[in-house]
């Protein structure tokens, strides 16, 4: 392969490293109205009365809207394929506010100062209601988060607003209770992951304006242009034909922008006033009113024989979707479906769950999407099992892990056609020196060095659901234009998809221009989420390019007056084998624009009946200060099977970035609510994402399998990489101290006080 597999620079690299104005707020029209929302100070309350007259008098204020001004049809802000699994439980503004931060009024004015002043002058009278702040108290509580009649679930996900249930369900294979009863050893634990914030550097932001056709144009920092169009159509009650959504460069997504967090407010303002507007979330708003990870409590039972054969896994997840149900019914599924199958075909498994509404910020789609929470639980339980069995946890895994060709009952019965998990394990073990280091070494000064291990998997797109498309056309000078609806949010998919195209078309990446994610011009794509872009859209690009090449050959045959079967095309020159006559790609491109009736353009869509999991192994070596409880990461080794790495540089950065986020979640990033339901970690001062001094040394290698259904053997990489740090670090801490931490983050306080109490 010439371009696939090459560490090519990103197409936008130059603009990004030189600081060019390519992000939403850099290119917003200068005369935009500034849009902000007034947010509820109460966790659960009814707006009894709202007075805006004083605020309207502030000079420069254009409009103020309250719940009385907005449509009354409920919708979801989740970016999902229709019909969405997430319930329709939102209004743009609702008289019932359900968490601290829920919008109460929208204010638009000519600048920030006047909008701020107006916000202060809005007088709201609330009827304060008792709130549910603890996920354990939600199910069947007397307090209902969504008592309204207009609440509705479009899909049968076990949702019931009269019970505070956003979803509920169970699936199993075999008789898990019977098998567990028969096991020699059973470990049991409950593991808790908090609602971590995504903390992409660019907060949520959207710019809106009306175009010359009277249509609402929405430029937004989003991963899901097509879903946003539907969401806005639902929210504003206007036809999709009236809306265009597109994205410029995005300052990080991670799934945060798979929910329409900021779009509806400026869209409503511009639709009503006809004037351009923008909404830029503050960091505080991004922290307290957005789309974080679902808080989950995962209870696991793992049973094994004395010789280490894992026979049964029983898992129950209690997930907290918060005040609204975005991604609630779907994230929970991954906590079981992407943790249990790591152990292939255990004799029996059960996976049950409840997703509850509470009066905290609603959750969203954060990288890992529930798998992260489930894998922390299952992998920690397996490490505890190894301890109980007095077995090397690596050996235990090698004995039980899923292998290529195996059917995974807990993964919709899919077969692993590409799986190098065993090779990942062997390589990671070698890289870190596992056999010499397990479990720990006393360094003699109150410090202990230890190692920990975890495996992980994810999917590649949503099987039978996700759609990726690509349009490729040949233009003058033999230039190719690739149009996609997938969203490059820093991941580099504009470049990796161009690499796939270049490989198919036998040309250089520079010969391909890429334009992305515009509902008016891009072919349909579900959007960049669920680890879908490389695998799903990548294959669409491949299909489109193969077809285009065929058309190019047909055109060449026409130009050379020969049969298609006589044409040989090397990407630059088409040759008539019988006569040796040639036309160049450039000539073909030119001919396509003169007297041509057969478009040199192809659009192809792709969807997959399977979602081949990428796999990985993470191993960490840490040094624990037994007195202070401080954990220092010395070495983090990750070996990943993402199929063929389309661009090894970008794959490596995905892994390193995912590890750093996973490390942050495991050690530093805490979520704390006040007794009144106020999120205290409302800034980067109080929510500590890792700095470069906090992540230690990260080392990444690839052990590639080849996925036949993916483009050039590729699977996904974006999400799987966040899943190993929490269980691997929890394991290493246990190996150093004997303390198993079951609730993230693993703080020095938990370690030191745990040791004190021992």
């Amino acid at each position: 392969m010439k371009t696939v597999g090459q560490p090519i620079r990103k197409k936008d690299a130059y603009a990004l490293v030189t600081g060019k104005p390519v992000f939403t707020d850099d290119i917003a029209p200068k005369d935009c109205l500034v849009v902000k929302v007034l947010r509820s100070p109460h966790a659960n309350a009814m707006v009894k009365n709202i007075r805006t007259d004083l605020a309207e008098k502030v000079e420069g204020i254009e409009a103020i809207y309250t719940w009385e001004d907005v449509p009354k049809e409920r919708f979801t802000m989740a970016g999902q394929t229709y019909p969405e699994a997430s319930p329709y439980d939102r209004l743009i503004l609702d008289p019932h506010v359900r968490y601290v931060g829920d919008p109460v009024a929208i204010v638009a004015g000519k600048n920030e100062a006047c909008v701020d002043q107006a916000l202060k002058r809005i007088k709201v009278e609330y009827e304060i209601l008792p709130a549910i702040l603890d996920l354990h108290e939600a199910k069947d509580s007397d307090i209902l988060v969504h008592p309204e009649e207009s609440w509705k679930a479009l899909c049968p996900v076990g949702a019931d607003n009269r019970r505070n249930l956003c979803a509920s369900g169970e699936s199993h294979d075999g008789d898990v209770d019977a098998v567990l009863k028969d096991c020699d050893v059973v470990v049991e634990g409950t593991y808790r992951v908090k609602a971590n914030q995504q903390a992409m550097m660019e907060t949520f932001r959207t710019v809106c304006y009306m175009d010359s056709y009277g249509r609402l144009n929405v430029m937004s920092s989003t991963q899901i242009v097509f879903h946003v169009r539907r969401i806005l159509s639902n929210a504003l009650g206007i036809s999709k034909s009236k809306i265009r959504v597109f994205k410029p460069r995005i300052g990080g997504g991670f799934g945060a922008k798979q929910t329409s967090v900021s779009e509806v407010y400026p869209a409503f303002v511009t639709w009503k006033t006809g004037k351009p507007s923008k909404m830029i979330f503050t960091r505080e708003e991004s922290q307290i009113a957005s789309s974080p990870r679902h808080e989950m409590e995962v209870s696991v039972r793992v049973g094994a024989d004395r010789d280490g054969k894992i026979r049964a896994i029983d898992l129950y997840t209690l997930s907290n979707t918060g005040a609204y149900g975005e991604h609630g019914p779907t994230t929970v599924g991954l906590s079981g479906h992407k943790s249990i199958p790591l152990y292939g075909s255990v004799e029996a498994h059960r996976f049950a769950y409840d997703v509850v509404y509470t009066n905290v910020m609603s959750s969203g789609a954060y990288r890992g999407y529930g798998a992260t929470q489930g894998i922390y639980a299952v992998e920690t339980a397996v490490n505890e099992l190894a301890q109980k069995l007095q077995m090397d946890p690596v050996q235990l895994r090698l004995k039980n892990m899923v292998r290529e060709g195996e059917v995974m009952p807990a993964y919709y019965g899919e077969q692993t056609n590409s799986c190098a998990l065993d090779r990942c394990m062997e390589r990671a073990r070698e890289m870190i020196g596992w056999d010499e280091k397990i479990p720990c070494r006393d360094m003699g000064n109150g410090k202990v060095r230890s190692v920990g291990v975890a495996m992980a998997m994810q999917g590649s797109g949503i099987s039978h659901v996700d759609v990726g498309s690509a349009t490729i056309k040949l233009e003058e000078d033999g230039l190719y234009a690739l149009s996609i609806g997938a969203a490059d949010m820093g991941t580099g998919c504009d470049t990796t998809l161009a690499q796939v195209a270049a490989e198919c078309l036998d040309c250089s990446v520079d010969q391909i221009i890429v334009s992305g994610a515009d509902t008016d011009t891009s072919p349909y794509d579900s959007g960049s989420y669920a680890s879908s872009t490389a695998y799903i859209t990548g294959r669409a690009v491949e299909k489109a390019c193969r077809k285009l090449q065929e058309k190019i050959c047909e055109k060449a045959a026409e130009m050379l007056s020969c049969g298609r079967e006589d044409i040989e095309f090397d990407g630059h020159v088409a040759t008539d084998r019988s006569t040796g006559k040639q036309v160049t790609l450039k000539e073909i491109g030119t001919a396509g624009q003169c007297g041509n009736a057969n478009a040199l353009q192809v659009t192809e869509s792709n969807s997959s009946p399977v979602s081949p999991p990428p796999f990985m192994v993470g191993m960490v070596e840490i040094e624990v200060d037994k007195e202070t409880g401080h954990v220092e990461i010395l070495d983090y080794v990750a070996v990943v099977d993402c199929g063929t790495p389309l661009n090894p540089n970008l794959c490596r950065c995905q892994v390193e970035g995912g590890l750093a986020q996973g490390i942050g979640m495991a050690l530093y990033e805490n979520i704390q609510y006040s007794a009144k339901g106020q999120l205290l970690n409302n800034s980067f001062m109080q929510y500590k994402i890792p700095t470069r001094l906090d992540v230690g040394k990260l080392r990444v290698e690839f052990e590639s399998s080849y996925e036949e259904t993916g483009p050039f053997g590729a699977k996904s990489i974006g999400e799987v990489v966040i899943n190993t740090p929490a269980p691997a670090l929890a394991h290493a801490v246990a190996n150093a101290t004997g303390i198993w931490v079951h609730e993230l983050p693993i703080t020095s306080e938990k370690i030191a006080m745990g040791l004190q109490k021992k």
Partner: protein, 272 residues
């Protein structure tokens, strides 16, 4: 959002002092903390034109102007040679270089913030505060004073001979400290200041006998642990978002013991 009506670059301390008597006016330090507030300020008073961004070294003392930045403290050769890097250790983990290029010593000390590393470090030294009206008073006294409208002009740190140490524990490297400890072994009584308790820093002294023994370097590890434990018991701690009081008190004993070991290794001998 912070609102400021007027900005005045003071031409003299007298002018700054007079302006500062008005309640709606405020003196600007590094502005890092003030910027996050939603204060409504009539006149912001800037001292940056008064040459107060200098560290002067004499035979007896260091005179540190209130507009000296934390980065200047970190890089100042004289200060760090004399106090064996203790002041550098106290500021190096504060957010980042760009932040420390703005944050001022005056702002840090005047604020008397609970989390302040700077206050903790200087409190362990023989430090005086020069106030424009209030004259020169010990830092320890200043810490206990209520906020008033005087101007903190400079810190005066005596060049005491001895050994020094600064230790802190943080949940993440550039976060506020969970607990911070500054120490000096000079003169008759070793001095220990503890900050981020999370209340503002306070200082205690060891007995002359304990100090002498440490200086002679004859304390066993157990003895040092005992001294540290006794000292830690005198330091009240509380809970905040970063940790609970029980862990803080535990850390207090650990960090003080480690600091004492460092002091004992140094033996209170000043190498100049």
């Amino acid at each position: 959002m912070l609102k400021i009506k007027n900005y005045v670059k003071a031409e003299s301390l007298q002018q700054a002092y007079e302006l500062n008597q008005k309640k709606s006016n405020r003196l600007l330090g590094g502005m890092l903390w003030m910027k996050m507030s939603s204060a409504q300020i009539q006149t912001a008073i800037d001292l940056s034109g008064l040459m107060l961004d200098q560290i002067e070294e004499t035979d007896e003392e260091f005179r540190i102007g209130c507009m000296v930045t934390l980065r200047q403290i970190e890089l100042h050769q004289g200060l760090n040679d004399w106090f064996q890097g203790m002041l550098r250790d106290s500021v190096k983990d504060i957010v980042g270089v760009q932040f420390r290029n703005l944050a001022t010593v005056g702002g840090s000390i005047f604020g008397r913030f609970g989390f302040s590393d700077v206050l903790t470090a200087f409190l362990a030294l023989d430090t005086k505060v020069e106030l424009y009206r209030g004259g020169i008073i010990p830092l320890e006294e200043f810490v206990k004073m209520p906020r008033d409208r005087d101007i903190l002009v400079r810190l005066i740190v005596k060049k005491t001979s001895g050994t020094f140490a600064y230790l802190s524990h943080r949940n993440a490297r550039t976060d506020f400290p969970v607990l911070a400890v500054g120490m000096s072994l000079c003169g008759k009584q070793a001095r220990i200041s503890v900050g981020a308790r999370p209340q503002k820093a306070m200082a205690i002294e060891l007995s002359e006998a304990e100090t002498e023994k440490i200086r002679e370097g004859v304390c066993s590890e157990e003895e040092l642990a005992g001294i540290a434990q006794a000292a830690a018991e005198k330091i009240p701690t509380g809970s905040n978002m970063r940790t609970g009081s029980e862990y803080r008190s535990h850390l207090c004993g650990v960090l003080i013991r480690r600091g004492l070991m460092k002091l004992q290794e140094g033996g209170g001998r000043h190498e100049d």
